[in-house]
Amino acid sequence: MGDVPVTVRLFGALYALQKERGGPTVLEIDLPSEGVTGAELAAMLDLPLSMIEGVFCNRTVRPLGHRLMPGDRVAFVPEGTPGPHRFLLGLYAAGKEGEPSVDTSS
């Protein structure tokens, strides 16, 4: 495990889901030093991929295949972001990448 946990935030429907489960909506998770993909982290948190359109990693939207590293700031965004921001922030592009694959961009 890495020394620094990843901080994870949940928004919108994912926030509501976590509340229903009685869990916190801001979590600190220990990750292996080689990191995990967004999809793998979602699985660790039992978040349905069907509800997720993109993941913020350090304030930038990434596809679910993006590798998250210890110390990152992460937020899962559900489908349903209104306005042009789905485009302007890159959520649309992230969500359209299909089945998660490993994205090594930093």
């Binding site: 919108g12 429907a13 509501a16 489908e79 042009p84 921001h85 789905r86 485009f87 302007l88 922030l89």
Partner: protein, 595 residues
């Protein structure tokens, strides 16, 4: 046949005329902008007799088109000095549509400036103008309450009435004054907020417009069966798409707060940061929790036929109605931009803005600018309320505040004043979200997020791949967004319908199928976009005649020079790219035969 209702406040006379054939395909924003372009001299005094207040339902107003009940109000703007179109929900648009009213044009000014009149439209087609001088100076909520009482005493009141109301800020001619429209429960909480149109209404001496629609039926269609089929197709898309069926109905527009904050684009303390540490206190998720806990309504439509249902009522600790659930932009402007993280405080400020009749965006941006001057502290909710009280009382200082962010910033010597064409920037910082910066800079309306709020299939080619932090592709994206938005505003659709269009091509088809089936004219995707282009062409040319040049299509310099954390980004879209956004205007102007 739709008709124009013309109200001359200089002579206190009302006349009717058929809608000119050249505007037969226009409604909503296309019609208000075409009328203002045609009838208002570009150099008119915005507070004088030559300016006109134009009110129009969309082309599909008065029908059962899902989410098709938006109202457009236009004039030459006292705030921007250009052509202004401000758009609102509420019940008035459908009521006017059912009456066959394409537009109300209010022109001239009364000789006696102390008067207040009510314009009343009745289901039998009669229209009158009656003195209501006792209503002058009342807040919007009290005005509606008193007006209901008067009409009830005359046995004219029923629940099927819509009010379009001016607040005291508009009566005092303040440039941030908006116009309130009642919702299905009779609360004057929907707003044509931007650009100071309340001030124009104030000069006309009109305190309220009452539209009685008891017994009126929806408009007839050229092809009823085809219209119903298209409505079903459209409604099906809206009720299954994640944005329109889940996120908006559950959390309202304020679901954006956490997302935009996470992106580092949530303007905080007068645009000095892109992240607000207090966002949790004013987010859509928190607002829903508070409202549910207090027994408030968290899901309803702002007009009949709304299937998205993103409206909500914010209630106090005792469960009493305070205001509508503040929209994302209002929660931001009165919250993060002022450093305020308490939802009850934000709701109280929102209610105050609504009651005195000022635009919540301009009000919040103005207060934040005032806070930046050091006169009051960021985060001081009581001081923010005192500023609004000054406006409501019409003090000398209140008149400065009431004229908006730029007037306040100049008065107090603030360096960074976030305005374009004299209008305050809304809730998205253009440095980490460059695309919205293009829209702010180039919109005919001044800094306006809704001008480029929608998405349609024609922008997918660039829209899906732009990097929010880079300039490439942003101008083309903004151009497509602005054209599509103008189209939806003209048909009378809530711009939120467009979210379904993004992923569901049948939803876009349904829009032109509804237009064709209702009017009997030919409508297709290209015709829809042409409608948007024509609308923007009227607005752009009017602004040019009023003296605007490309130099006005620019963001304040601090957005280009002062990096914003956490991305340390500045706005980098070039002037040449900004100037390309309206490249279609000369060709469309030639097609329309206008200069």
């Amino acid at each position: 046949m739709r008709e124009i209702l013309r109200v001359d406040m200089s002579t206190l006379t009302i006349s009717r005329e058929p809608l000119p054939e050249k505007w037969a395909r226009y409604g909503g924003r296309a019609l208000t902008s075409a009328i203002v372009f045609t009838e208002v001299p570009a150099d008119a005094d915005t507070m004088g007799p030559d300016n006109k207040l134009v009110i129009a339902p969309g082309l599909l107003g008065g029908t059962s088109a899902p989410n098709g009940g938006r109202l457009s109000i236009g004039a030459k703007s006292p705030l921007t000095g250009g052509l202004k179109e401000s758009n609102s929900g509420g019940t008035a648009a459908h009521a006017l549509g059912k009456m066959g009213v394409a537009a109300i044009i209010i022109e001239g000014v009364p000789a006696d400036k102390t008067v207040a009149y009510a314009l009343r439209l009745f289901p039998d087609g009669t229209v009158d103008l009656v003195p209501r001088h006792d209503l002058k100076g009342l807040g919007t909520y009290e005005t509606v309450a008193v007006a209901k009482g008067i009409e009830a005493a005359e046995h004219r009141y029923s629940e099927k009435v819509s009010f379009i109301v001016n607040g005291p800020a508009g009566e005092m001619g303040m440039k941030s004054a908006g116009i309130a429209i009642t919702d299905p429960h009779g609360y004057p909480n929907r707003f044509a907020g931007r650009g100071g149109l309340g001030a124009v209404m104030g000069t006309k001496g009109i305190k309220l417009i009452a539209i009685f629609e008891e017994g009126l039926k929806g408009k007839e269609h050229a092809d009823k069966d085809a219209f119903i089929a298209a409505v079903r197709k459209f409604s099906g898309a809206l009720t299954t798409h994640a944005v329109t069926s889940q996120a908006l109905p559950t959390f309202g527009t304020n679901v954006l707060a956490n997302i935009i904050n996470e992106a580092g684009g949530y303007p905080t303390r007068n645009f000095s940061s892109g992240q607000f540490e207090g966002v949790d206190g004013i987010s859509g998720e928190t607002m829903r929790e508070i409202t549910v806990e207090r027994g408030g309504n968290v899901k309803h439509g702002c007009h009949a036929g709304c299937v998205i249902q993103c409206s909500r009522y914010y209630v106090d600790k005792d469960g009493h109605y305070m205001t509508k659930g503040p929209e994302y932009e209002s929660a931001w402007s009165l919250g993060a931009d002022c450093g305020i993280s308490d939802m009850d405080t934000v709701a109280a400020l929102d209610r105050k803005c609504g009651d005195i009749g000022i635009d919540t965006i301009e009000a919040g941006v103005m207060i934040a600018v005032y806070m930046a001057s050091g006169k009051i502290a960021f985060g001081d909710g009581a001081a923010a309320m005192a500023v609004l009280d000054e406006i409501g009382r019409g003090t000398d200082l209140g008149k400065v505040f009431g004229d908006g962010a730029e007037a306040t910033g100049l008065h107090f010597g603030v360096k960074n004043i976030p305005v374009v064409k004299h209008q305050g920037l809304p809730a998205y910082d253009p440095r980490p979200i460059q695309g919205i910066g293009v829209t702010y800079a180039t919109s005919t309306q001044g800094a306006d997020h809704t001008a480029g709020y929608t998405i349609t299939s024609n922008v997918l080619a660039v829209g899906g791949t732009v990097d929010p932090l880079k300039p490439e592709g942003q101008a083309a994206l903004s151009q497509g967004l602005q054209i599509a938005t103008a189209m939806l505003d003209s048909l009378g659709f809530c711009i939120f319908v467009a979210f379904a269009v993004l992923d569901m091509p049948e939803a876009f088809e349904a829009i032109h199928e509804m237009a064709a089936a209702h009017t009997g004219d030919e409508w297709d995707a290209d015709a829809l976009m042409q409608l948007g282009k024509e609308t923007l062409t009227y607005e752009r040319l009017f602004n040019e005649h009023a003296g605007f040049t490309n130099a006005d299509d620019r963001l304040p310099k601090f957005f280009l020079e002062e990096p914003l954390a956490p991305h340390d980004a500045v706005f980098t879209v070039t002037d040449e790219e900004l100037d390309s956004v309206h490249s279609f205007v000369p060709e469309v102007a030639a097609q329309l035969g206008i200069k």
